[in-house]
């Protein structure tokens, strides 16, 4: 995202305010943030053609490489040594899962938002332990967040 910002601000296609708007949109769009950022950027530059070409360009190369790698792993997975290496690599990859979760939580760890964030986190955790499905947890959390928002200001977070 930072590389895209630098490239497009350098050639004058994007200013800092536009970039901030695109970052906010990418955070609010379901799914992968960088894809939403690319779609927003493509849309602001060339409308539909820009959005679609940005979307394909940002997702197709990685997807092809992933298919080839997956096919290769499926073939060599039966060897114990390979399985051991894969298990170690998966353990390392879990660190990334934790860091993704941490980066999502980080903006809410500041004082004004902390209490509401803690309530939502505790209730979500309780629902998880009660075997509530992920989609229901997200929907109920949204309802809870709206219900306890009270006098919250948009500037409370970020």
């Amino acid at each position: 995202m930072e590389l895209l910002r630098r490239t497009f601000t350098a050639n004058g296609s994007l200013d800092e305010a536009d970039n901030a708007g695109l970052v906010a949109v990418s955070r609010l769009t379901p799914g992968t943030n960088i894809l939403a950022y690319c779609v927003g950027l493509g849309w602001s530059l060339h409308r539909w053609s820009g959005a679609l070409s940005a979307l394909v360009a940002s997702s197709l190369p990685a997807s092809l490489i992933i298919c080839v790698l997956t096919a290769a792993i499926v073939r060599v997975d039966r060897y114990p040594a390979v399985r051991m290496v894969l298990a170690v690599a998966v353990l390392a990859a879990t660190l990334l899962v934790f860091s993704s979760a941490a980066s999502l939580l980080r903006p809410y760890l500041r004082r004004p938002a902390l209490v509401r964030a803690s309530i939502v986190a505790i209730v979500s955790g309780a629902m998880l332990l009660a075997d509530v499905t992920p989609v229901r947890i997200l929907l109920l959390s949204a309802a809870l967040g709206a219900a306890i928002s009270g006098s919250a200001r948009p500037s409370d977070v970020e």
């Binding site: 695109l22 906010a24 949109v25 769009t29 379901p30 799914g31 992968t32 943030n33 960088i34 894809l35 939403a36 950022y37 779609v39 927003g40 959005a51 979307l55 394909v56 940002s58 997702s59 197709l60 190369p61 990685a62 997807s63 992933i66 298919c67 790698l69 997956t70 499926v74 114990p80 051991m84 894969l86 298990a87 170690v88 690599a89 998966v90 353990l91 990859a93 879990t94 990334l96 899962v97 993704s100 979760a101 999502l104 809410y108 938002a113 964030a117 939502v120 986190a121 979500s124 998880l128 992920p134 947890i137 997200l138 959390s141 967040g145 709206a146 928002s149 006098s151 919250a152 948009p154």
Partner: protein, 142 residues
């Protein structure tokens, strides 16, 4: 598993997440626990492949699609990954109109927090399974 089912399940998982890896809990639920289309080990491999590749973090779903239904599944997963991103276009307009409202902002924030909690739980499950796999691989070597 058919490519259409792969598309629908992945779209559901991706459309209800707010980060690349945020779809993992729902994918775990649908593909591993409910439909048994993948083993926990295969899902872990998909995450690993996704992480070993440059590009979007959420692209690991393509590997999920491939493992569940071959090349048609991979294409379905690629389409499922791209579909929610198109929501960015109307969102640019909607954000300017609604996001300043405290309740809307609070609801969005709550969804982000809940998805982080779900992600932490998935991380613990992944680590536990990888640890078991490592132990069994060591045993089979001896």
């Amino acid at each position: 598993m058919s490519a259409i089912v792969v598309y629908v399940l992945l779209l559901k998982a991706i459309a209800t997440s707010f980060a690349g890896m945020g779809s993992l809990p729902q994918i775990q639920q649908d593909f591993v626990e409910t439909r048994h289309a993948l083993s926990v080990e295969q899902l872990n491999q998909a995450v690993l492949v996704g992480r070993s590749t440059p590009g979007p973090i959420g692209a690991y779903v393509v590997s999920v699609g491939y493992l569940a239904a071959g090349w048609p599944g991979a294409i379905a997963a690629w389409l499922a990954m791209m579909t929610p991103a198109l929501a960015a276009i109307p969102l640019v307009v909607l954000m300017q109109r609604w996001l300043h409202l405290p309740r809307v902002r609070a609801a969005v924030d709550a969804v982000v927090i809940a998805s982080a909690i779900l992600l932490l739980a998935s991380g613990f499950r992944m680590a536990a399974d990888a640890w078991r796999q490592l132990a069994s691989a060591q045993l089979s070597q001896w």
